[in-house]
């Protein structure tokens, strides 16, 4: 990390001198003003000040064009079977050219893409465009469970307008429902409002549209009763155990596989996912080549695992490139209110395939909810209190 940040600062002045380091970019030391009452120094407005911003990842130069077509990352590694239990595997190590910072990458096998190639500082620093994340939904999915737009307009006025009748609500009814050009009274003729309200009240998991596959499951835990198992004890003999099984409802969770699929296939953030691990090197003027580790996808663990899955058994004809979805779980109980006991116990998931510079942006929507764990509920507490 250190080697990159020092390096990054240098890029700004790379047109002057490549050997400029971070230390030389510090502003000049305060001179006479600090000693006494000096002249007030006019400070430039921030817009005009030439500030050296820390630079993110440099755009990578394109891969060297090789005259012979290299073996693509697709497909299994070629190998030489030396003995029955000894196999020599050949892996192409593809080196990228050195960028302005003196950083180069060594990929294991030609990568299908380099996501941060040509990525500018602006793209790294700016928030992602709002609304980019979600695919546009169809009109029918948006209106569900209302069958048409007239019913939806009336329904959303009814549920969204507050509990009491008001003049503002009346005007809103006239303006946004009755006078809207797509409102047609005829469409309201045979609508079963009670059924629609019932569907609205149900959770999103059962919806035909939307819903992210959340399920509620009751889990069973065993609680020791502390009663020793005795042969004479009829109750213990019947149950054969000294623990009490207790069902705890309220574990909300969703399929991790479905989540991976939705992010990797449909999320626009997937265009910046790294699928191929690499080793990153920095070579400054007059210094030896050093390894730069700054992301999950240039760690040794990833490279090792990536190679391991390449050598796994394959079905005949299965030539799809094999990649890792790096799951980074995170969990912490959260208090919802300043006062009181309202708590949530969520499990979140980040993908290590995404660069940390993107992952840290709230606008990237990189954090995915996987589960909400149930707390030790009140019934259990009271039951346990009575038992012991």
């Amino acid at each position: 990390m250190d080697s990159t940040s020092g390096d990054d600062a240098g890029s700004f002045h790379s047109h002057l001198n490549d050997s400029l380091g971070a230390d030389e970019l510090q502003p000049a030391a305060v001179s006479d003003e600090a000693m006494g009452r000096g002249k007030r120094k006019k400070r430039l407005a921030p817009k005009l000040r030439q500030d050296v911003l820390p630079d993110g990842q440099a755009p990578l130069p394109p891969l060297r064009q090789s005259p012979t077509p290299e073996v693509d990352e697709t497909g299994p590694r070629s190998f030489l079977q030396i003995r029955q239990n000894l196999r020599l595997v050949f892996t192409d190590i593809v080196h990228t050219t050195v960028n302005t910072f003196g950083v180069s990458r060594a990929y294991y096998g030609r990568p299908t893409c380099i996501p941060d190639e040509y990525m500018t500082v602006g793209e790294q620093a700016m928030p992602l465009v709002a609304g980019q994340r979600h695919q546009p939904r169809s009109l029918r999915a948006t209106l569900w469970p209302y069958p048409n737009i007239s019913a939806w307009r009336l329904g959303s006025w009814f549920w969204g307008g507050g509990d009491t009748k008001s003049k503002a609500g009346f005007k809103d009814l006239v303006k946004s429902v009755l006078l809207s050009p797509d409102f047609n009274v005829r469409e309201l003729s045979d609508i079963r409002w009670d059924d629609i309200d019932e569907m609205l009240a149900k959770d999103a998991g059962n919806q035909p549209y939307g819903g992210e596959g959340w399920k509620e499951t009751a889990i069973t835990i065993s609680i020791p009763t502390g009663v020793k198992k005795k042969a004479s004890d009829a109750r213990a003999a019947n149950s054969g155990a000294t623990s009490h099984m207790m069902e705890i409802p309220g574990l909300w969770h969703r399929s991790i596989v479905a989540l991976i699929r939705s992010v990797f296939c449909d999320d626009p953030a997937a265009q910046h996912l790294h699928f191929n691990p690499f080793k990153q090197y920095w070579e400054g003027p007059g210094s030896t080549k050093q390894r730069v580790r700054d992301e999950l996808f240039n760690s040794n663990a990833w490279i090792r695992e990536h190679e391991a899955i390449q050598h796994g058994p394959r079905d005949p004809g299965d030539l799809a490139p094999r990649c890792i979805a790096a799951l980074m779980f995170w969990s912490d109980a959260t208090h919802l209110a300043q006062f009181g006991q309202a708590k949530l116990w969520p499990i979140y998931l980040y993908f290590g395939n995404q660069s940390k510079w993107l992952r840290c942006k709230p606008s990237a929507h990189a954090c995915h909810h996987v589960a909400y764990l149930p707390g030790v509920c009140a019934t259990l507490c009271s039951w346990a209190g009575l038992m012991y």
């Binding site: 299908t112 596989v257 991976i260 296939c265 799951l327 980074m328 779980f329 995170w330 507490c381 209190g385």
Partner: protein, 64 residues
């Protein structure tokens, strides 16, 4: 009568809930994906076989 569970019991229950929940979340579908990968057409149009691997688990001890 206000009867409260002991701290030791609550610790036990929280730990049991955590492990039972993880057993539910990391289900058979996930284990199958772990061993044989999931074939999917990614956003860039390339069909890849994706193997989920857990790299980090940053959580506090819920039983405490």
């Amino acid at each position: 009568m206000d009867v409260r569970a002991t701290d030791a019991l609550m610790t036990h229950c929280r730990r049991e809930i955590y492990h039972a929940a993880l057993t539910t979340i990391l289900d058979n579908e996930f284990v199958t994906a772990w061993t044989s990968g999931i074939l999917m057409e990614c956003y860039d149009g390339v069909t890849r076989r994706i193997f989920p691997r857990i790299f980090t688990w940053s959580a506090d001890y819920p039983e405490k």
